[in-house]
Amino acid sequence: MSEKEFRPAKFEHRWVNCRNEENFLALMDMLEQGAGEGRFGLLYGPAGRGKSRTTARWAAHQGSVHLLMLPIWANSELGFLQALCRELGVMRPPRTKNGCFAEAVEKLLAAPGPVFLDEMDMAPKHLNLVRALAELTGAAFVLIGEEELAAIMSQNRRVWSRVFQALKFEPVGARDIITYGRETAELEIEAAAAAELNRSDGGEDWRVIKRTMIDLVGLANSKRTRQVGVEMVKQAVKIGFRGGRRR
């Protein structure tokens, strides 16, 4: 690119479909195909891989229920059922477990859209309750949590047999970084440079990658290029350390 033609890159906050997102969409498709049967989808993986963001975004666009499980409900079925009722559109949930359960069943029968329960590992005691709701209404429940959730569910045969698909959110890969750079800042990140960033401290965490990408935009613009090589990535990672953004 000649000096005259160079147009500085600009970082834009934008949603980028990466590998995990593609797998998640496949899972949702599969759950839809099993409509009418009470079923579970399971999404698990360590924190910071975008599980909650991905599902909350999907639910926000589709108008599905997305409930964040609170630790205070761990031993309170009533607290959980009341919150679920509110999300399902019951303005004044009943004060009894039975009443709430019946309301939730009614609402789910009327609109058996998928229900997302985020951080389900915070209240694993309610798995059987959720299974009963799924079975009675034919609704799909997508349970989200860290790795121990998969282990807890697999120990409960009745629950595990209803899991249509379990999806582990993988760490960010070099390919994801290349796509992210291209779509948010029109940067062409070389494969070796993406691998370098991926290997660096925090290089599998979207938050760190995003900040590094912003630094890369600045560096690329100062060098009047859109090509990002290994050296530039090393420099950006260094800037990140100085800014105290890395773990």
């Binding site: 934008r14 963001r53 639910a59 926000a60 108008g63 409930l67 964040l68």
Partner: protein, 175 residues
């Protein structure tokens, strides 16, 4: 129930599937320039919402998408309720809104004491389930639309006056 203008256009588009502007105008009994202009604006809005596709100049197709897709505000509201705490950047990514729009929307919720700002995060502190409507902004937009309408009407009058003047001058020259 009275059917609004946009709904009438929507129904006609659904019935016609592929249609030209003239065909649609005929179907709706549009006879004057003002209503035709209104029809063009409505079709543009439907193209923007994805319900109608523009196939070429003055040529459209019903896209068959379900009307009533969630608005940006609805998406933002549902996302905020699901996550409980968000940043402006997150809203940009999730709903494709601009930073300015995201900040303005969150600022409105702060004013309503539904959200509290802590650093660059906005936390939902008073969840009323129902999506709050920014009536003040809606009022401002309505006023803006009315102004635009009045300006367009004035321009129409100017065009008519210029045309009449041209014709008068031509008559003079011929006479």
């Amino acid at each position: 129930m009275k059917t609004g203008w946009t709904e009438k256009v929507r129904q006609a588009a659904r019935g016609l599937e592929d249609f030209g502007l003239d065909e649609m105008a005929e179907r709706l009994g549009v006879q004057d320039y003002k209503t035709r202009r209104k029809l063009i604006n409505t079709l543009s809005a439907l193209v923007k919402s994805g319900e109608v596709e523009r196939m070429g100049k003055a040529s459209y197709r019903w896209a068959g998408k379900v009307a009533g897709q969630p608005s940006k505000q609805e998406i933002l509201w549902r996302y905020l309720r699901a996550r409980r705490a968000v940043t402006v950047e997150e809203l940009q990514e999730v709903a494709g809104v601009t930073a300015r729009y995201g900040r303005e929307w969150l600022g409105f919720l702060v004013q309503q004491e539904m959200v509290k700002k802590a650093g660059d995060r906005y936390r939902l502190v008073n969840d009323q389930m129902e999506m709050p409507r920014n009536e003040g902004k809606a009022e401002r937009l309505r006023a803006l639309r009315d102004k635009k309408k009045a300006a367009l009407a004035a321009l129409d009058q100017v065009f008519v006056a210029v045309a009449e003047a041209r014709m008068a001058v031509a008559d003079l020259e011929e006479g």
